[in-house]
């Protein structure tokens, strides 16, 4: 058996496909990455700290893995699904009762989509907290914001395809929000639906967007995103503590590995990551422990992907994707809830007109996210409370009260789900002014303004979503989750 394998690997045909030898030396391991189309976006060697799980939790990579699973399962679903009004819903029923493994594939597609949205959000939050959006990566952060929007659009267009009540009414509310855009809203809605109501044309358009246009855009964007990470010298790592100050600086970094254990030798030292000429990157690889991509990074990638695939498969075996009655344009279910990641917006619609809640606030959020890296306020600055703390405290609370007032303008009531998080964040900020000793005080004092704004954004989004998901019953009235909040 071994001889056969060896003969195969040595055969002319094999050598014409894979042009390097078996990856048991660092030279061949380098070639395995360098000469492979599928691996060429990896460097030959990676920094050991960069591939540590707790450094990134592999959130970006797992989002991409979800996209891969979605592409595969989506392709399979397309063999049976017909995007036409009499058929679409029946095909959903066929997946459940007629097609072999149909329900499993549909479940996998659905749960992977939800997981992807969650992972993309988490990836963004983690990137923000790590400060990895800073120059020279600021445009890559903007691309990332674009990818988040594309992910949400993909999820939204896919939502209509089952053609059940859930789908129909979520999309009705969504497209009417689009129609609320000043001046061009009506035209965009007409182009999106291909008519005045959600019908055959709308279903076909959403199908084409969901299966072709948006995935192509996302694939292109992901390629660009990953490529730029590579060009900027891999993922962002804090500078290695210099050996003479290492004792003074507490760090969570991995201990120095034994060079022999990670496969560093004289041969591989020559294959250092080449740096782009003129790139604004300072890759000081002086003391950085490096490992070969093959197998160290590839193994981690494979294990992470398999763990995700197993988790999602188990979920798909245990829980079925929801399917309500066939879409009935004359009967709105009560309540009609959007998917969870849009419930924050739906909850806002309770307070504001569609122009404000559905257009203005989300656009402001997206614009604010996109421009974060172009304001250099987040970069190492002295603590806020060092001079004139009382005056600054007064100014801060004046700003907070004014901001709370702004959110009352045009609202049907006080928007507590936004205002209370603002106060909590304000209180946490003010706590930094207290003469606290110890780590908590130091931590509070060293957070920057964008951190607090981001914390407020995340806290409000979570509050709005939780209230929309669990505490809203028929006619969007307040209720308790165990009474009739969950739908």
């Amino acid at each position: 058996m071994r001889n056969i394998a060896r003969a195969l690997v040595r055969s002319r045909v094999w050598r014409s496909i894979v042009r390097h030898g078996f990856p048991d030396s660092n030279r061949n391991r380098s070639l395995a990455v360098l000469s492979s189309f599928f691996l060429h976006f990896h460097p030959v060697k990676v920094r050991l700290r960069a591939i540590k799980f707790t450094r990134t939790f592999y959130l970006g990579g797992l989002s991409a893995a979800c996209f891969l699973i979605l592409t595969m399962t989506g392709l399979f679903l397309m063999f049976y699904y017909r995007p036409a009004v009499p058929h679409a819903y029946n095909d959903m029923k066929d997946f459940a009762f007629v097609v072999s493994s149909g329900m499993f594939l549909r479940n996998l597609h659905r749960w992977t989509a939800h997981t992807m949205v969650a992972l993309v959000f988490a990836h963004m939050a983690w990137t923000f907290l790590r400060g990895a959006y800073r120059p020279p990566r600021e445009f890559n952060w903007v691309i990332g914001v674009g990818l988040l929007v594309t992910t949400l659009l993909l999820s939204y267009t896919g939502y209509l395809l089952p053609w059940d009540q859930l789908a129909y009414w979520a999309v009705t509310v969504g497209t009417n929000m689009v129609a609320a855009i000043p001046v061009v809203g009506g035209e965009i809605k007409l182009l999106l639906l291909g008519g005045h109501s959600i019908n055959d044309n709308a279903l076909l358009r959403f199908y084409v967007l969901h299966c072709v246009a948006l995935p192509m855009a996302l694939a292109l964007g992901v390629g660009l995103h990953v490529w730029r990470v590579r060009k900027d010298g891999g993922i962002l790592l804090p500078p290695l503590p210099k050996s003479d100050v290492a004792v003074a600086t507490p760090t969570e970094d991995a201990p120095e590995p034994d060079p022999a254990a990670v496969g560093l030798d004289a041969e591989s030292v020559r294959l250092v990551v080449t740096q782009e000429e003129g790139a604004d990157v300072a890759l000081d690889l002086g003391d950085e422990p490096m490992v070969m991509t093959f197998p160290h990074l590839l193994l981690r990638e494979v294990v992470a992907f398999l763990a995700l695939a197993i988790l999602l498969s188990v979920m798909s075996l245990l829980f079925d994707a929801p399917l309500e009655g066939i879409a009935d344009p004359s009967r709105t279910p009560n309540p009609a809830k959007a998917p969870w990641y849009f419930l924050g917006v739906q909850e806002l619609l309770r307070y504001y007109t569609p122009v404000v809640a559905g257009v203005l606030l989300p656009s402001l959020c997206i614009i604010a996210l996109a421009v974060i890296p172009y304001f250099r306020v987040n970069i190492e600055r002295p603590a806020l409370w060092e001079s004139a703390p009382m005056r600054r405290l007064a100014l801060l609370w004046l700003a907070i009260v004014a901001l709370s007032g702004v959110f009352r303008i045009g609202a049907t009531g006080m928007v507590w789900s936004i205002v209370v998080p603002l106060w909590i964040v304000g209180a946490a900020m003010s706590a930094g002014a207290l003469p606290w000793r110890g780590r908590l005080g130091a931590w509070l004092r060293t957070r920057s303004l964008p951190f607090w704004i981001f914390a407020w954004f995340v806290l409000s989004a979570i509050t709005l979503t939780v209230i929309g998901a669990l505490f809203r019953g028929p006619s969007w009235r307040f209720t308790l989750p165990w009474r009739d909040g969950i739908y």
Binding site: V173, M177, H196, S330, N334, P335
Partner: protein, 162 residues
């Protein structure tokens, strides 16, 4: 073979101007073609013929609708009301975000299930978030039968006196 650095080849001022003009002409033509393609693309996506149902439908004879009665035409998303001043038709589509409102017989209110808007039977907003009143639709009498046209909006005080 010598390397010719065209950035260092001297160019006559006339020649430079000619090149600039041609470059402007070329990029202008390209821009116009792009704009044209965009307009044609949007125009392509705008359907010219819509196979949507006719907005007109018959409701019945006005005598069958007593004063104060609200007739719910669920399939057409229309309420036909016999109010104190006459008959009128109201769209049941909520002016907030397009959900279909509900009206239970004998009740004074029309309620939207999506975001909690409430209207009275004349279409006026009682409780937000909706801002505009329910749209009144064309209601005519043809050969003794009430006919609603959902594709024709009318004024908020329009009534049909019979």
């Amino acid at each position: 073979m010598p390397f010719v650095d065209d950035l260092r080849v001297p160019v006559e001022p006339d020649e430079l101007e000619r090149r600039r003009f041609l470059a402007l002409l070329g990029s202008g033509a390209l821009g116009l073609a792009g704009l044209g393609a965009f307009v044609a693309g949007v125009r392509y996506l705008e359907p010219d013929v819509l196979y949507e149902e006719d907005g007109r439908f018959e409701v019945g004879r006005p005598e069958t609708l007593p004063l104060g009665m609200v007739l719910v035409c669920r399939a057409r998303k229309v309420y036909v009301v016999h109010g104190p001043t006459g008959f009128y038709a109201l769209s049941a589509v909520c002016t907030h975000l397009g959900c279909v409102t509900r009206h239970e017989p004998g009740q004074e209110r029309i309620v939207c299930p999506c975001h909690g808007s409430e209207f009275d039977v004349s279409g006026r907003v009682l409780v937000g978030p909706a801002l505009r009143r329910l749209q009144r639709l064309s209601l005519t009498l043809r050969r003794g039968v009430l006919v609603v046209d959902t594709s024709q909006a009318v004024d908020d005080d329009a009534v049909l006196e019979v």
